[in-house]
Amino acid sequence: MTFRLEGRGLGCERDDRWLFANLDLTVGPGEMLRVEGPNGSGKTTLLKILSGQLTEHDGELRWGGQPMRRSRTTFLANLLYLGHAPGVKAALSPLENLAWYQALNGERGSESARMTALDEIGLCGFEDVPVGQLSAGQQRRVALARMLLSPRPLWVLDEPFTAIDRQGVAALETRLQAHVVRGGSVILTTHHELAPMAALRRVALGVS
């Protein structure tokens, strides 16, 4: 079974202001979609629609050929969404944070897998420190470690490069590319210049 996220005629109106309208897009295996546009053009809103958080919009969203309303649970099981806020609890350690995220998906996971993921993302030695004591960049890395833990085909990332140092950015870029090469798909917004990639497509908002 393959997957594909399709949006037809997407539009969003908030308080009588149209952020965007009549947007068609599809993302399938091995594809990366970059949403571009100036501040306030509705990038985050579009990502919230594409990740199934905002259900009030014009047009139709389909996952695997089925309308989102019917395939919502399957869709969510396949989705990894990272928003503006990293979504990690300051009073918990990186290990505990990751354990909760795994459990939300219904899997118990193993401590060693979580350790490996944290090591790989560059948090070796910080596994048991409360996240509140880590820097902003390290906190974001804890969130990024979720990419390595459970294989989800669709990644929806809102400004994933925020607060990350140069090496981290390079590593994340490679990781995104590897995910796409493996047949996953990525939708992201970023102000950062991405290294050229074959499968990269763009959607521009707010150019009227």
Partner: protein
Amino acid sequence: MQVVEPRTGLAVAVRATIKRDLTLMLRRRGEVINPLVFFALVITLFPLGISPDTALLAEIAPGLLWVAALLATQLSLDVLFRSDFDDGSLEQLLLAPQPLPALVLSKVLVHWLLTGLPLAVMAPLLGIMLALPVESYAVLALSLALGSASLSLIGAIGAALTVGLARGGVLLSLLVLPLYIPILIFGAGAVQAAVLGASAAPHLALLGALLAMALMLAPWAIAAALRISING
């Protein structure tokens, strides 16, 4: 890349959420203790404001204890979803491939375990200070334990509706306190019945019925309210 089939695993998710919230609250013990101190403090104010006359205090004690416990629960509600909202984990909770009402129910359960239940255990101690007759202590604790579960559930609806607002505290009381009135009436009524030597069973049964109804309806209302707040 393989498509992931949705796992069931609701029990795993619920257990992990309960464990996570318990750990969080126990690491910030102040938030657990503050409502209890508030409860004791409010009860201390009444003899000072009214009269230390034991006969008078004993007569109004059931109502005082219940009103003070209700306010203490209400004050502790604002933090129920607030920190999750601020750090973005509420967003992630809403994206979990699990039924949201079940997940919020486990959060409310933790709130009750660390607020309502301690208040119920502590109430007889304050009952002594208000010269409440000893026979009513069991009913006092039981009615508070039952009633505060409904208070947590109903209050969570208000907390979910106001979590996106920068200063939702006073508004939250305005929304929630009118809805608390039936629970206050039956809860204080149970203690009063016990003081008078009558059976408190009807009151407790009604509190149980209210709890059953709140358990049935509130999780859905909380889930809907959270979805609205997260996109506000």
